[in-house]
């Protein structure tokens, strides 16, 4: 069971808001901590992995259910 330190609710927001919110949330986090992001923007499906690729974060889990995309992200 992973310990989720921070929750980011980006439901109803469109690009680039989920990514901007995600970045802002990671600013106060320490390396290795985990964040959960929930978004409804279909673009987020690809945007979040792209963001993780560039920032060195790791996507531990990603889920799609009824238009909601949930990501468990380990920050770098």
């Amino acid at each position: 069971m992973v310990n989720v330190e921070v929750e980011v609710d980006a439901k109803g927001m469109y690009c680039p808001m989920p990514i901007v919110k995600l970045k802002k949330a990671t600013k106060t986090m320490e390396t290795g901590q985990v964040l959960r992001l929930v978004a409804t923007d279909p673009g987020a499906k690809r945007d979040v992995p792209a963001w993780a690729n560039k920032t060195g974060a790791e996507i531990l889990e990603s889920n799609e259910q009824e238009g909601e995309f949930t990501f468990l992200i380990k920050v770098s």
């Binding site: 680039p16 808001m17 901007v20 995600l22 802002k24 792209a50 920032t55």
Partner: protein
Amino acid sequence: MAFVVHSGSLDKLYPVFMLASTGGAMDAEVHLFFTFWGLDAVKKGGLDKAKLPGIMSIGTGMMKGKIKSVGVPSLTELLAMCKDTENVKIYACSTTMEMMDVKKEELIPEVDEIVGAATFLDIAMDADVQMFI
């Protein structure tokens, strides 16, 4: 990322700030060079005044209304998000300022520096993404 922002219309400024805020959020170094009509965008009140181009300017109100109802941030809000990432630098073109009689005091505080083409190109030559908007 290095963008020359030559346009001052709402439709062109949106991609500038959307891409810049996203790039900044992705830890990219983003440099925005506001020149010609783009300079109007970095004058005090400039972002709020940006209109759709030409004859479409009459539709600006409607477009801004739609943007707001969908939940997309205003240009001013996007600029704040850019600065919040601490990865976005804003430059005003020195020559355009001379040509259009714009003084430093008229610019928004978010402008980091007033520079010339060589300074910007030095940055752009090392960038991975270069655009003219």
